[in-house]
Amino acid sequence: MPIDESSRIKNSRRREVLRVIAALPLLALPLSALAQQFPTTKVNTTKLAVTDGEVTVGQLHSATGTMAISETGSIQAERLAIDQINATGGVLGRKIKIIQEDGASDWPTFAEKAKKLLVNDRVAAVFGCWTSASRKAVLPVFEKENGMLYYPTFYEGLEQSKNVIYTGQEATQQIIAGLDWIAKQKNAKTFFLIGSDYIWPRTSNKIARKHIENVLKGKVVGEEYYPLGTTQFGSLINKIKLQKPDVVYAIVVGGSNVAFYKQLKAAGVTSDKQTLLTISVTEDEMLGIGGENVEGFYAAMKYFQALDNPNNKKFVEAFKAKYGEKSVIGDVTQAAYLGPWLWKAAVEKAGSFDIDKIAAASPGIELKIAPEGYVKIHDNHHLWSKTRIGVAQKDGQFKVVYESGLIEPNPFPKGYQ
């Protein structure tokens, strides 16, 4: 069956509108009461798009281009969160209105649209970006125009800004716990590092190498990078076979991902013969790769759809109700879902929509309803979070086999650079 995202979104939007209309008389009273308690002149001193009944936020992802594959999940999750917030009374008694812009997988377009959202639309917050490159492109805009960005992707770290809340994990959080576990579990001494050729895999592998060599006292027997979009991995696979590493550590992304795992399987490198740990395959990527092709490989990240806790059950249920039974939720999708909730919490804590106040109020904010469990914003605007290890299953899901304690975010790790 063809899956039409847009029409589904449209349908659900229509439903949501109906629901809101139906709920209006009910909500009218408490809403306005709350809004009166926080008059617009008080909560909005910097001319943001906040009225007595409404607050406008921006959503900035790639709906088109090569990155649309990855960013669609984030768009959906953020919308879900905003709907839920609206259904429970909005933020400071104000309904959230979304302006969605398409970054079109093109970094200057991201910068352009970010500026539009901040300067023309005066949005109170922006949920968006996926790749590091797009974030780097918009960052100066956010800092100059003083906006607030909620950035959902796990990324390489080495960044910290007053104007960004990083809801995904930075590299050390994701990498170190995973390596520790696999080294202990498999008694691994030799590692083969593979990545797509850009900043996140390279930085991550650098951290991994330091950790392997200095802490685990293991050995890195190979480190390889392939351009994004590579479709032929035969030579690489032969090198892996030649080296016979205890663990293959893979950070291949994008369309290359599928080619890499399919060819790996076809070459007989399967989980019964080779341990593989990845930090770049979520349930989203599994859709394209096919569960049967990665069965038994390990992934390290903070969230899996299969996480067994009440928050997650509710979240998965709501997500499927909105976007269809077949939809899957990956790590970044969940992190994107946190964005609007964290913003709401910050606004309520600050009692204001002003960016400066939100930025100041954010550290220390806890989110107990997070599907991944409990998260808390660190002083460095990253999240405290746990790291899990999942084993890929044939049906495209992961089985969670390990869970770390809360890990402190450390975007500028000393000794790992």
């Binding site: 088109t64 990078y225 479709t231 032929q232 399919k262 490198v269 049967e292």
Partner: protein
């Protein structure tokens, strides 16, 4: 087991890998090559015809899993046929609606087909969603053959190879042994004369273009075994495809084969000795240099112009 026999095994597998890259390149370039040979133009939407093939396979796969699970091991062959048919028909329409108006302006065709590729990508996105999909491949396709303890020969690689050999053979027969092939070659060499001796050159063009697209569809179906299926998957292959075809030259099928072989061997060898990115740079530079030496591609016919 000695290190040497192991090294030998790697060597054997690496050799197979080179061949396999060669076949992939050839397969994706084949359809474009006959279009390039016929019109002297690069169809920038070629990658999207590959994608058509991939999505067709996905559709067949979904239908099979939903309605006839028992049929799963065999559906792939029907998917390939389906991919050919659909891509052929789309190609036929595209030629009729677009290409035929531009025969006298080859470089413009290049631009127009790029516009077409944008439209097709968005069409895929609207129909199948922005996320990648995965056709469930028959189990027999995804294993490997083990001629010895340490050698694994991927079956999907073998399959792509076999398909490439068969397709290339059929195409060669069609071009050089059939009545139709004669017409195609006549039209390529002298359009006006061919028209004068009663060849319907319009028809020849249209069928050739559609055939090239159909072959791209087959290639796309075959590539679901080694690659991804998404709205922009086809674009992963296009640059390699262009280079293969252009390096081969417009003159003959043999040029394309030689060119695919050259690029594949350069790439496979380079990748084994250096990082993938540098290997890519080296391969591309080699192609540019060869083109400098042979401005009309590897196999250009020397004739009195």
């Amino acid at each position: 087991m000695s290190w040497f026999s192991e090294f030998g095994a790697i060597l054997a597998m690496q050799g197979f890998n080179g061949l396999s890259v060669f076949c992939v390149l050839l397969l994706m370039a084949l359809g474009l090559a006959i279009i390039f040979g016929q019109m002297g133009v690069i169809n920038m939407a070629h990658g999207e015809f590959l994608t058509i093939g991939a999505y067709t396979t996905y559709l067949f796969s979904s239908l099979t899993t939903s309605y006839a699970p028992a049929f799963a091991p065999y559906y792939f062959f029907f998917a390939i046929a389906g991919a050919f048919l659909i891509a052929f028909c789309v190609g036929y329409l595209v030629e009729w609606g677009l290409i035929r108006h531009l025969y006298r302006r080859p470089l413009d065709t290049l631009l127009a087909t790029w516009g077409l590729s944008l439209v097709m990508q968005q069409a895929f996105r609207s129909t199948f969603g922005a996320k990648e999909v995965s056709a469930t491949l028959p189990d027999w396709l995804m294993g490997s053959v083990k001629p010895s303890e340490s050698i694994d020969i991927p079956i999907n690689g073998l399959f792509v190879m076999g398909l490439t050999v068969i397709l290339t053979g059929m195409l060669a027969l069609l071009l050089y042994r059939s009545q139709w092939g004669l017409r195609v070659r006549a039209t390529t060499q002298n359009r006006i004369m061919s028209g004068a001796v009663g060849i319907n050159t319009r028809r020849v063009d249209r069928i050739t273009f559609a055939l090239g697209c159909g072959i791209a569809g087959i290639a796309g179906a075959a590539f679901t075994t080694i690659g991804s299926t998404g709205p922009t998957s086809g674009s992963l292959y296009i640059v390699d495809t262009f280079l293969t075809v252009v390096l081969g030259g417009a003159a003959s099928l043999a040029g394309t084969i030689a060119s695919a072989f050259t690029i594949a061997q350069t790439q496979a060898t380079a990748e084994f000795f250096m990082h993938g990115s540098m290997a890519k740079v080296l391969t591309l530079s080699a192609v540019v240099l060869i083109l400098m030496m042979r401005p009309q591609g590897l196999f250009s016919i020397k004739v009195r112009r």
